[in-house]
Subunit: 263 residues, 2 copies
């Protein structure tokens, strides 16, 4: 008999994932709890990556960094096994996608450092709570993401342009959406731009670089937030011999309540 | 004829310091502009230190990290020379104070990484503006600082207890002071505690571990903020062969307006 996953607390959901009982996207699970992006790199890349995050905190808000080799975290999900508690992982070799996996325990290296990065799922709950529509949820799609012409501050081997996620917001609610998300800097914070996609180098709003196109209705403004795909793109450009990430939409569900990312 | 230093913009003040025309504490200079703590470490310590900061952001809010060997910054003070534009430096060898200097250009190593860390001077201006007294300014003293029993999250070779600064605030203004400073997380943010010093391991409020004791008047509450001396203490405990810092009260005056640390 299938378990009602939506009723599970984060540790129980992670155990279900670890057992292989759930392999799908995590959107909507454990409402109220933050979900995190994962980037795993060999230690020799870790300083440059942490510095890249420090210099680009809106696109790369680090929630926690593991000790080298550890598959455990201490702050955001103390019981989690980083190598098994995410529903799907992606493996990149020399900057190129190699394979998708349900767990990465047998690939784990003693020099792996895990970076857990804040995710916009956290602020979308606040937007919905405030009566602001979140189109890709309404349409059952992935959020559309675009590579912009806004340069990131480089750090060592890592550099690249900022990637943004876009949500169309009714004009009269757009500033409110900006203010609500500004209160959550650890999950990307305020938008980086709204309206006029061409000013940030987006040629065709109907053709996102990642994710799915969504409907922009009359009277709506496209609002652009810094996106956690930014560091992934920077990592791929640097072509590390190995890098693990979560698969898009398949996140680490943490024990941290979203509200505690505000204060 | 002496220049009126209080009229100088940050780049001009830094040039005066570089020329040796000013060697005093920077408190009160360039009002409205953020000042920063300096910690310089050889690159082999830089990852652990940056991770320590990531894990203890309230005590160690990093404003900028230089590239290895660079005496230049790119974000908070693009014209500054890190090795000459602070009025006084301290040199520590194997974790022990070795000497104080007016510049450290001749000590500079190609592997030095500079960490510029936010400073409570920035939020004190907001407190004063809101009519909240700042006692050590009134009394012309250094802020009192105490080593607490609150452990920092360790990172590699760095560990230690949180150091706090204390300001006595009239009871009816204490929560307001907490809220005002909470809006500035990049300069330590909200207090970590107020009242009852013994609950955070402070045995005698009249005997600070660093800085000067200040008067606590009847009806006032001691309010404790995470302090930038925390990472300095962690560094000294780790006994790196060499570490440079600013001398207490002699900070890097940046080009960043305090108000821009809020948003």
């Amino acid at each position: 008999m299938p378990v009602d996953l939506s009723k599970l607390a984060p540790p129980q959901l992670r155990l279900a994932i670890r057992r292989g009982d759930f392999t799908g996207p995590t959107c909507g699970l454990c409402p109220g709890y933050a979900q995190a992006n994962l980037v795993v790199l060999p230690q020799r890349y870790a300083y440059d990556f942490l510095l890249f995050a420090q210099r680009n905190p809106a696109a790369c808000p680090v929630l926690e960094v593991s000790d080298a080799g550890a598959r455990r975290l201490s702050a955001i999900a103390p019981e989690a096994d980083i190598a098994r508690d995410i529903p799907r992982y992606r493996v990149y070799r020399d900057g190129v996608f190699a394979e998708e996996r349900l767990d990465v325990a047998d690939l784990w290296q003693r020099d792996f450092v895990s970076f857990l990065i804040g995710c916009s799922f956290s602020f979308e709950m606040d937007l919905l709570e405030a009566g602001i529509p979140v189109r890709q949820i309404e349409e059952g799609k992935n959020v559309p993401m675009y590579i912009t012409n806004i340069p990131c501050a480089p750090a060592g081997v890592f550099a690249g342009a900022m990637v943004v996620s876009m949500r169309p917001i009714p004009r009269e609610l757009a500033i409110k959406a900006a203010c609500i998300t500004a209160a959550m800097p650890r999950v990307h914070g305020a938008p980086v731009h709204m309206g006029t996609p061409e000013q940030i180098g987006i040629v065709d709003i109907a053709k996102p670089d990642f994710g799915d196109a969504v409907t922009i209705r009359s009277g709506e403004v496209p609002v652009f937030w810094p996106c956690g795909v930014t560091p992934q793109v920077a990592v791929m450009l640097a072509k590390p011999d190995v890098c693990l990430t979560h698969a898009p939409g398949h996140m680490l569900v943490t024990d941290v309540k979203n509200i505690n990312l505000k204060y």
